[in-house]
Symmetry: C2
Subunit: 308 residues, 2 copies
Amino acid sequence: MAGSDPLPSWNEGSTKQSILDFVGGVTTAGGPHLVKPEERIAVFDNDGTLWSEQPFYFQFAFVLDRMKAMAPQHPEWKDNPLFAAVLNNDLKTVAAGGIKGLLELATVTHAGMTTDEFSKIVEDWIASAKHPKFNRPYTDVIFQPMLELLVYLRANGFKTFIVSGGGIEFMRVFAEKVYGIPPEQVIGSSIVTKFEMVDGVPVLTRLPQLNFMDDNVGKPVGINMHIGRRPIAAFGNSDGDLQMLQWTAGCAGSSLALLVRHTDSVREFAYDTGMMGKLEVALTEAAAKGWTVVDMKNDWNRVFAFEA
Amino acid sequence: MAGSDPLPSWNEGSTKQSILDFVGGVTTAGGPHLVKPEERIAVFDNDGTLWSEQPFYFQFAFVLDRMKAMAPQHPEWKDNPLFAAVLNNDLKTVAAGGIKGLLELATVTHAGMTTDEFSKIVEDWIASAKHPKFNRPYTDVIFQPMLELLVYLRANGFKTFIVSGGGIEFMRVFAEKVYGIPPEQVIGSSIVTKFEMVDGVPVLTRLPQLNFMDDNVGKPVGINMHIGRRPIAAFGNSDGDLQMLQWTAGCAGSSLALLVRHTDSVREFAYDTGMMGKLEVALTEAAAKGWTVVDMKNDWNRVFAFEA
């Protein structure tokens, strides 16, 4: 309604104002910064931007749970140091395996079934798994201020997309229900799928082979591939989002590039560098370019909807 | 308006009726075939389905024109038999090079510039090139009945996508203006792009390397990658569309799988097998599965908007 605050979980101040000013500018008819509705593209990182990413990426929790569920059918996993580390909750060894190790684990748990089967597995997991700190479904651990931002942008003619290093088919299972973002507006990393007729029934089978890594320099590439337009607003929280923010900030007209900085150890977590991902180069660039940086502790009066 | 014909260029008969019945079914509230609006996904092949593909794919005409425009800077092309054939209008030799030869030509003309530069090149070409038979811009040589179908589907809550073997960044230049299909709903073949900062400016550079072939078994894969939902309506005209039609027809509820058959040598062209692409296996499958087959000559009272 007129006069009501579209971003009630955001405290008044320069951060909130930079969002309101940007949206006001690109939507003011006859103004110097007006952008046509079809060109109002906003892209959001997911992990650490729309929902938490601590103590580790939620999709990694899915991988761990899947490995444990599948282990009885794979006695040979005991002899693989990486797989054994997962089964023994030795996350230090798992982390030491780096991105190569994580991809190996992802492959084992994400391939070897049809796309429909995989969606069902994720759906069941999402419905039952709980976040270790908050003891709630992972889909509750989403940032209320960012949800308000998604709604506010859409109300102003924006099309909102997720552009995440996370798995595209993992996120699509819940993105529409949780964020109001339909599958066709979710961009992420993927493995190769293969079309085949099995007993006269067409299926897409997921193969143990990386197709696309939607992170760092991959993000502008993924944006161009899926959207084919340059965003005018981008939201991230780590160095993996740097190139997406550069690509967006480099558009011809008015733009908004925003970083969420995790500064609240009580309500969420306080870190720049976590177990996975860090905020370092992008923070330096934000300061140099005048990008908006959210200080979670001070800029958000509410972090999660479930707070008292 | 109520009572008006949404498909005036379609003659009354079983073909038109199959479309009306399908759309009526999936949009009838409380009916047994109702499909939620967000799941009303319709996918259209482009070449031969939305616009003509004779005497050869329009994008191939672009390739030929580009090669000729670039030739003065490439005296060495004279010594390459395939390239020399293009410059000498020896299309028989070019065709004999098969898909491998076509990809080589596409690479030479489609890579080595930024995405923005490529779009500008296509835009300029589209604005000036003429179809050899109709002596009109290629974007005039689109099927009026299919345009009406796009509008009719969208008016009934469908989201319409292009799923073509053609180049994704080629089609995006004109798809919104000509078909009302925005860039983010265009799926096609692609080459690899690379993000880089050039003198502080972020660019996406097009590399001479195939990224994805959106044809045959690639079409369901591309649909899953970009849309993440299974279509309930698919429109094609050749064997390259077979798997897309199978994937669509295999969905859980009501579906429409349709082939456009080119039977009108006067108003357009009459062929099942052209210089590029053929309609053979898909036609057999259509008969076996009861898919809708458009007989252009008899089902369409108008082919192009520019007809008298």
